[in-house]
Symmetry: C2
Subunit: 111 residues, 2 copies
DNA sequence: CCGTATCCTGGAGGATACTG
DNA sequence: CAGTATCCTCCAGGATACGG
């Protein structure tokens, strides 16, 4: 049994999935792999996610210390950038591994 | 846009998550990393999953060609073993990466 | 530009009882 | 031993409209 951030997980694998699982978190992290992105830039990369869901997932990732949100202007139009924290960087090998297998599967096991 | 097994994914990362996402699939695959296990052996490793859910997840993994189910006896008590397919083996680097990060997080970022 | 507010739905997963 | 069969709950995520 593993405990992390006040939650219990029955396996080390489920702990990780608790942090990056769900439909969108790995996609967000994948798009942040090369540096910061603005909210609308993320939306552009992920055309099929709704605003509400993107917003919620970003907030969860921020609360978990995986990404950080930086606001550059105080008056509208706001400029906000999202980027990986140092802790979030430690997840990059996992995210990369996940992304690479997706490419591998499409290229070698297409139907 | 990526297409795999008749489903569409907006990102290579979401394709992989479509195959191994959810609460239990990575846990099952993690426990099968060293070889075959019987149904009740899996249950022993995963005491908090319900029978129905375990059964459903195993069936999904089998349908996706990731694990294979082998029946050794025709009369009760049945002997059934689950193991990775060759295709499932290609997921092991991903599963290992996920599992190792879980251990890393607990050891280095505990609260 | 960067979100939040509301309302809603589908399906993942749980509890429990039963079967070949 | 290895599951199914039912029934049920809960919440991630979607649709859409509006706000700082």
């Amino acid at each position: 049994m593993y405990t992390f951030k006040g939650k219990e997980y029955p396996c080390c694998a489920s702990l990780t999935m608790g942090m990056i699982g769900g439909k969108w978190k790995t996609v967000i992290l994948f798009h942040l792999r090369n540096g910061k992105l603005r909210y609308n830039e993320l939306r552009k990369e992920m055309p099929t996610v709704t605003e509400r869901t993107l917003s919620l997932q970003l907030k969860t990732l921020e609360e978990d210390g995986i990404i950080k949100r930086t606001v550059y202007t105080s008056k509208p139009p706001l400029k906000v950038e999202y980027s990986l924290t140092d802790f979030g960087q430690t997840l990059m090998p996992v995210v990369t591994s996940i992304a690479e297998w997706g490419v591998y599967a499409v290229e070698n096991h297409a139907d």
